[in-house]
Amino acid sequence: MSNEAVLHAPAGLVHEEHHGHHHHHESFITKYIFSQDHKMISKQFLFTGIVWAILGGLMSVLFRLQLGYPNETFPILEDLLGKWAKGGKIQPEFYYALVTMHGTVLVFFVLTAGLSGTFSNLLIPLQCGARDMASPFLNMLSYWFFFAASIVMISSFFIETGAASGGWTSYPPLSAIGDFSEGSKAGMDCWLISMALFIVSSLLGGLNYIATILNMRTKGLSMTKLPLTIWAFFFTAVLGVLSFPVLLSGAILLLFDRHLGTSFYLSDVFVSKTQTALPNEGGSAILYQHLFWFLGHPEVYIILLPAMGMASEIISTNSRKPIFGYMAMVGSLFAICILAFLVWAHHMFVTGLNPFLGAAFVLLTLLIAVPSAIKVFNWLTTLWKGNIRFTPAMLFAIGFVSLFISGGLTGIYLGNSALDYQLHDTYFVVAHFHIVMGVASMFGMFAGIYHWYPKMYGRYLNNTLGYIHFWVTICGAYLIFWPMHYQGLAGAPRRYYDISNWHFLKGFDGLNQFISTVALIVFATQILFVFNYFFSMFRGRKLKNPNPWGSNTLEWTTPINPGHGNWPGEIPEVHRWAYDYSKDGREYIPQTEPIGAGESGHH
């Protein structure tokens, strides 16, 4: 059956005609739980990601209560949390556990698994024209390792000594010795085990994504005809596969130091509480930081690249224009991917790092500004003289670009060691990374969800709720994080439970209260989105047109509710790149359409 026919035939009819390939009987368990269908696995990642996002967001609401209203008590918190909120006031140990878990959960579980896991899984086979991943079984394992990691992480909250509380970076010796903090007891073991499981999940997923993209593209789909989403997922997977194992080694060595008496990270440590000097000598606490940031920095791009890819695709589709500078976009993704491995020590300028080494890292770090600038200018040029449709996805993609600019520019301050000398670990850093990797990537993720929801469920999300969601969230994001730069420039350090006994931080009480209030409103709006998500799954407006956005890419050539195997008949063949919008007077030309005789220069 020709692709044209697949496009226009009613979905049911196509099903009738093509029993052959995918019609194997599936029980509830194989279809919804231990599913090997990439589309179902992607939904599983997204579900778990949403649960984590709600929990992680709730944690930030709790510690923002403490920061915004340090002198108030909230008796309901004691009812809910017991000793962790004695007298209705969040205790320091619990505050630090919340901060630590908020970071870990959002960075790894939401913006790595929830973002990459969802969209790499959904889009790689669909946009590459493959029936499934290279190894559906490993793909399934990838989700279930993530699930196991989630269970271990959640359970650490129910341990008597509480969850890990040494910050999401968990630097030893604080994280290595239980006597230094309650959270460094069993909670820290849970954290390390959970991270180890998570890394396994991430590797299984990543290897699968790479194998699928390299080997399973449909006929005619050369690498340079791939949509930018796939390029972004590809580089993301490469980053993950090469850097996550280093974090695993870091975590394992930390476990050894904690339980087997080794001294990888420990030396010259005296425990005041017990008045004993530890026997460990010769280790280096800085070694852990190198291992951590060797993943930690690429991790930032693992979070950001998928958002960039999806924003590129969505901006191009909704501007009805080809993405500007396709090869430059791929080249800048590649440059970012390479540089991501060479800048990790910019997190360590003030650890006593050799200044010469520091200088090399300054140079490499600021170099990243060049590919980033190319991307921004290319997005702007893609909008220029377009015919733009503001779907909720498009709004989130525009918001992504705005936030990426705002947060990226402050990176130029922090990447320059002589300025980091002052700004390191202040609220300036908090504002910087929340805008550029936290909120921006969340925007990329929201854009992706609004854009591909019809593909996932055959229904639309409610538009009005989508618009409300976007406008409250972007206003809230700027209201929360923009003023934080000023707090940082006033010297306010990160991770302070209470600033009332610091003279130089006087005068920010009102601002802290304001930020906390806005954070509450933004959180409430995200609940609205979650409601929209689940409501629309069952009651949303049904899709009638299999290609609702007039898009060129292959995923829209499948039936509205594709079965396992994606295309009922032959896999479509690709003849052109993904960005023939508004060419030769036609609004869009799908990738499956052969190059016409009189067609002007083609890609």
Partner: protein, 359 residues
């Protein structure tokens, strides 16, 4: 009860928003998707340009409210910190220009090129010239910033001037211990297994090293003279801490087992700063800037910058820690008669301690 009302109100707001959203979807179905899309497109286009205008006003207003509360408003309290301030301004100028240009273009383009009937998008896929321009221009500006930055960086991290006052600062959960080298200007050797708060040896000084005999230990505040370079030797007794000197514009981690250093030249005494800022309670505060445990937020230290003569007088009143650890060695406390038996006993214990000291 009030909590219940708050909850009920929130629920009500959710329900109202949801009903509106549902109703607008039905209206959309009735009016036709196409009409609805065009209508919401116009609204969102207008909102985008309003967001730009309000956002720019907001940027100005935030600056108006808080610029005065940042440390830049006070000026740097150290000679070296002035370089940080000027570099900050250069970076602000460059990034500020990029910020305004790109954000204005982004929202302006979005507004201007919103979908209109009968209009077609332009097929414009690439231009090597444009792309070369916006690769080269950022590269040039980044080079400028790297050059400024590295010159400052190498200045900050070079060896402290030879005449610098040396003070050792050691972090522990959750306070700071300061040590002065005394008359010999040498900090005596320490070994962490000698640390004992009970025996008045909080830093684990090795008593066989004679350089330790005149070292002074302070735990309340650090005094340094104005106008003289000051070098901090930074240590930690337990976890990683960070010596944050906001007014002097620098900070450095305290890592157990790996001493780090930092130097600066204070420009104003504490008293001068109080007058300058018209703030009688002003202190140079040391903030711990590296997560170090549940008391992290309370790990506060104080630096008092004195006139050089005041500093000398202050230092002269301090006794070496050696005398605190071994009161019998303190010439000012030497009892006229022979040492009594208890003192002798402690001396013996200390002597035994010394034998297990690593050399």
């Amino acid at each position: 009860m009030s909590g219940f009302f708050v909850l009920a109100t929130i629920l009500l707001i959710y329900v109202v928003i949801f009903q509106i959203a549902k109703a607008s979807e039905y209206v959309g179905v009735l009016k036709g998707e196409e009409v609805m899309r065009k209508q919401s497109n116009r609204i969102n286009g207008f909102l985008l340009i309003s967001f730009l205008v309000l956002g720019l006003v907001g940027v100005w207003y935030t600056n108006h409210l808080y610029a005065g509360k940042t440390l830049f408003a006070q000026g740097s309290a150290s000679v070296e910190g002035e370089r940080v301030d000027s570099m900050f301004m250069w970076t602000l100028a460059i990034t500020g220009a990029v910020f305004f240009i790109t954000q204005i273009l982004l929202f302006w383009f979005a507004f201007k090129y919103q979908e209109k009937d009968g209009k077609k998008a332009v097929h414009f896929a690439h231009s090597n010239k444009l792309e070369a321009i916006w690769t080269a221009v950022p590269a040039i500006f980044m080079t400028i910033l790297v050059v400024i930055g590295l010159r400052n960086w190498f200045h900050f991290t070079k060896e402290a001037p030879a005449d610098a006052v040396v003070v050792e600062i050691t972090g522990k959960q959750f306070n700071w211990i300061y040590r002065y080298p005394g008359k010999d200007k040498v900090l005596g050797k320490t070994y962490f297994k000698n640390i004992s708060d009970k025996n008045n040896n909080p830093l684990g000084q090795i008593w066989e090293d004679k350089a330790n005999y005149d070292d002074i230990i302070e735990s309340s505040e650090m005094h340094i003279p104005v106008g003289v370079p000051c070098k901090l030797v930074i240590n930690s007794r337990d976890v990683v801490h960070d010596v944050g000197l906001n007014h002097f514009r620098m900070k450095m981690d305290a890592v157990p087992g790996i001493p780090t250093t930092l130097w600066f030249t204070p420009k104003f005494t504490t008293r001068q700063m109080r007058e300058k800022l018209n703030d009688p309670e002003f202190q140079y505060e040391i903030s711990c800037d590296q997560m170090c445990g549940p008391g992290h937020f309370s790990m506060r230290g104080v630096i008092v910058v004195d006139e050089p003569t005041e500093y000398k007088i202050w230092l002269a009143t301090k006794k070496p820690n050696y005398w605190t650890a071994f009161p019998e060695k303190d010439p000012t406390k030497q009892p006229p008669a022979a040492v009594d038996s208890t003192a002798k006993k402690t001396a013996e214990v200390k002597a035994a301690d010394m034998k297990i000291v690593k050399k």
